[in-house]
Amino acid sequence: MTEPIGAAIVRVEELRKEFGAVRALDRVSLEIAENEFFALLGPSGCGKTTLLRCLAGFERPDSGRILLDGRDIARVPPYRRPFNMMFQSYALFPHMSVGENVGYGLRQERVREPELGRRVADALDMVQLGGLARRRPHQLSGGQRQRVALARALVKRPRLLLLDEPLAALDRKLRGQMQLELKRLQAAVGISFVIVTHDQEEALVMADRAAIMDRGRVLQLDAPAELYERPATRFVASFIGESNLVPGRISFGEAGARLEASGRAFALDAGTVRSRGLRDGDRAAIAIRPERVGIAAPDAEIGEPAEVAEVVYLGSNRRYTVRLAGGPELVVRVQAGQPGDDLVPGDRVRVHWPTEHAVVVVDDTTEEPEEDA
């Protein structure tokens, strides 16, 4: 896993949390750096929200530490932590105006006028709600409420801003705008954001780094491009984007590392195989992104022969399902205007891919699935 970009603000060490028989957090360790946009990404029940609530102070971990400036705050109540949260439901106070909502945190710190009014106005300007301080939450649109929640959480200038599925309630178009806006805002205020999301696209667009979680564990923590191009496990490869996954066993020979799968062998990058901790005979899989598979004429001297089984037209590209000799199927994406963008089912082709894009991944999907948290 890559090192944090800057100095760590918060270090999570060996965090565990169980709800009855469900293991929500299973020895989670990670660092959140100064001024970064950090995403916790995973399917529902993976433990990402529990981790966020442990950071906020609403859940107490069974064991492990949360270090802030070297001090363990795992048992410090939420009202004594310099973190603020933006709730999924926004959780605006219905009996207060927008301005009072935003000023609430400052009043707890006994900030007085005129500073109080100035900081509230600044926070509302920051989220472009300058004129709405006197409105009540129920008089606002969903998007406006979300901005109020954001201003309220940022006005105290927390060390960490925690965001729990902040865009889930917005429609698709607004969500896209807000992703970029949140990203810009994070860079502008220089506060580290930790966002929980189940939407991989959201994480890829916004995050500097993302932790992929499943069943209470962090499977991989990396920059979005690394997560996409070099997934560490089969789960990560299939959760983020689309992947061709071929399971098999590792074998080291004179020709280098290979993955042997149903009578064929795929060449692998030996360094990656070792860095994943895989040894000769281990179960593993290769993951190949559909857009990394090249298509050549059937008489070319490259790759393997295959037959086009299915064609899906997607406008800017075509998505083929091709069948290799012996059975395995691959999904291939070809951009419009590139060679091979006009195939029809039944066509014979040869498919090929650079060895570095056949990424070996740890096969973590055959364990018995546990109950969802």
Partner: protein, 262 residues
Amino acid sequence: MRDRSLARGWLAAHFGLVLLFLYAPVAVLAVLSFNASGQPFAWGGFSLRWYESLVGNATIQQAVVATVVVGIVSTLVATVIGTLLAIGLERTTRSSLLDAGVFVPMIIPDIVLAIALLSFYNLVFTGIMGLGLGLWSVILSHVVFSIAFVAAIVRTRLRHFDASIEEASMDLGATPVRTFFGVTLPVIAPGVIAGALIAFTLSIDEFVIAFFTAGTAVTFPIRIYSMIRFGVTPEINAIATIVVAVSIVLVFVSQRVGREEP
């Protein structure tokens, strides 16, 4: 179209009859309270003399004061306990047995509750502690059934309460106590006020339980009862009219306050 207007006519007639059934006796009472002659069958012209004679009646005034004291004190105590009870029930239990246990005092017949309270007070307060019953024991008795009403009304308000606003408050630096007074209480306040008004309304015209547990103290309903034993005097009509008016205002206010926001 014709069918529709016919149906409307029937509905209106039905509604009118129900209103008549409910309020005709009260209306007659109110009219008689302004009857100068004081006789039920002879209209002697409009007059406020019965109300004037009430104002001059010291025993009635004392009873009114006693009832207002009982009403205010028992309402305050029952509102605090009932609100906390509602919050506790809503947050910590899904037990319908416990729910039932809390709400039973609402539906136990007054006479049963009155006898139970009297026996218990006689045993514990008079028998063991040697205290005479009085207004304080009426207050205690009214608290018993008012708690259930307050808790029931506050709970309906809590059903729609978004608990994440309490977390938001603590997240923003407010301690649990400040969160309760700054966020929880203001948000459920309409329910609390509605519950308090109902409790007060029930207390001021409650007779059976007060009669059993008052010892030698006299509340307003008890005073009326003792007057009525010598026949319905015109003053009683005036008193009853005032009580009805106060009750209507209180219920109306509690309905307005307790209404859900859009």
